[in-house]
Amino acid sequence: MSALFAVTGRELAAYFLSPVAYIFICLFLALAGALTFYLGGFFERGQADLESFFAFHPWLYLLLVPALAMRLWAEERKSGTLELLATLPITTPQAVIGKFLAAWIFTAIALALTFPLWLTVSWLGEPDHGVIATAYLGSWLMAGAYLALGSLASAATRNQVVAFVLAAALSFLFLMSGLEVVQGLLRGWLPGDLASMVAGLSFLTRFEPLSQGALEAADLAYFLLVMIMGLTMTALLVDMKKAG
């Protein structure tokens, strides 16, 4: 276990040693704020909640989380440090989880820094704090699911740009399946049950209830499952690529 946390610590420090951390946090805060107030109509809605803030998270993550995940494995392979890491007494799953945890903690920090919004609605009205807390939890879980996909994409290549594009494309598939446009198309092709099953695989469909404060075990399990699957496949891919 200490080996796993040593990896987490190293990765987390690496984020803050490079400009990635600061650019990510600034972009995330600026975009989240702008979308909430301009596109989301925070004031026009006249309601003391953060729905207009959380509604954009799936789209924000689509762009930002792959940027966070792209270096996780691609950089190790490119610089040759994978050979250093992989010959230390640590198993591949431990290294995969250790790295993932660092990135996930990082998204928690970025999310936590949006607290002024929570303060603002509390000051303007009387929001349901349980709903907001649930939405934060949901958003963090969703970020984890995006990160697991990003980690998988990063393990597939030694080129970080390719890793970014691959992660964004993969995440887009997961997002899109729940969109009304796609659902309309699917219903024409597939039986209704199957179409709604595809929708059930979408980040959008799964995040929506959470963002409105509905804590459903199935939605939590879904995001955890995506993470477990993404990380398992990452570990397999890291070992496979190493074997040459």
């Binding site: 200490s2 440090t81 640590i90």
Partner: protein, 244 residues
């Protein structure tokens, strides 16, 4: 007691090509083996298999009795490895990287500080202790890589070109250190410098086209002949052995 290192029929295939075709070797404490061979002969591939980075296509390697494939963590704990080119995390400082590796290796705080101080002293790293690794000269990078390999006082040391990029003084220091360390360890070092083998090694092994072609003491191997001539005779096919 099990030999420090026992290799039986170790081979590696990349596609249809056998990069290493069946290497046998037993190495005991106190032996310092010089591993020679032209570029691409299979030196690094063999070392990567011994350290558990590459899974062998056939055969097996036992480190202090632990099979590299079935007991990877036990085997890796007993090994110190300097990979080819000494890859390091460029964004970290010397101190931070040593601390990270010590943590992954499960060393306690006092032990970590004592061993770090020892390797810093032995390899002259105090001057670069708080410098980011990417800013170091090639010689210093190599020495930091060596420091990582000997940090946990391993039974077996696998060093891929440890003196490459060092100036003559540093080469001399590293060779003295290796001689000192070899008293209670089994060491393999690969090199292109034939005089290095005659100067420090107790045993010399030559590999060509993936096959062992010689395994003897340096004196017996080179005898009175110029070492380059012996090397050419062993590693070149007859038609390319022009007596230039």
């Amino acid at each position: 007691m099990a030999p420090s290192l026992q290799i039986e029929g170790l081979g590696k295939r990349f596609g249809p090509f056998w990069a290493v075709q069946g290497v046998d070797l037993t190495l005991a404490r106190g032996e310092l083996l010089g591993f020679l061979g032209p570029n691409g002969a299979g030196k690094s591939t063999t070392m990567k298999m011994i350290t558990g980075y590459l899974p062998p296509s056939r055969g097996r390697a036992l480190v202090c009795g632990a099979d590299v494939e079935t007991q990877p963590l036990a085997a890796r704990r007993a090994i110190g490895y300097l990979p080819e080119g000494a890859p390091l995390y460029g964004d970290m400082t010397t101190a931070a990287l040593l601390r990270f590796v010590a943590k992954v290796r499960g060393m306690s705080g006092p032990q970590r500080r004592r061993r770090s101080e020892w390797v810093a002293e032995k390899l002259g790293l105090h001057a670069v202790w708080y410098r980011p690794l990417e800013s170091l000269s090639k010689g210093f990078k190599r020495r930091v890589g060596l420091a990582l390999a000997i940090l946990h006082d391993p039974q077996v040391l696998i060093l891929d070109e440890p003196t490459d990029g060092l100036d003559p003084n540093q080469k001399h220091e590293v060779r003295s250190l290796l001689r000192e360390l070899s008293a209670d360890k089994a060491i393999i070092l690969s090199t292109h410098l034939l005089e290095e083998v005659t100067a420090v090694c107790t045993r010399a092994m030559v590999i060509a086209e993936g096959k062992l072609v010689a395994d003897a003491t340096p004196e017996a191997l080179f005898g009175a002949e110029p070492p380059e001539q012996v090397f050419r005779r062993l590693t070149l096919p007859p038609e390319r052995r022009s007596a230039s």
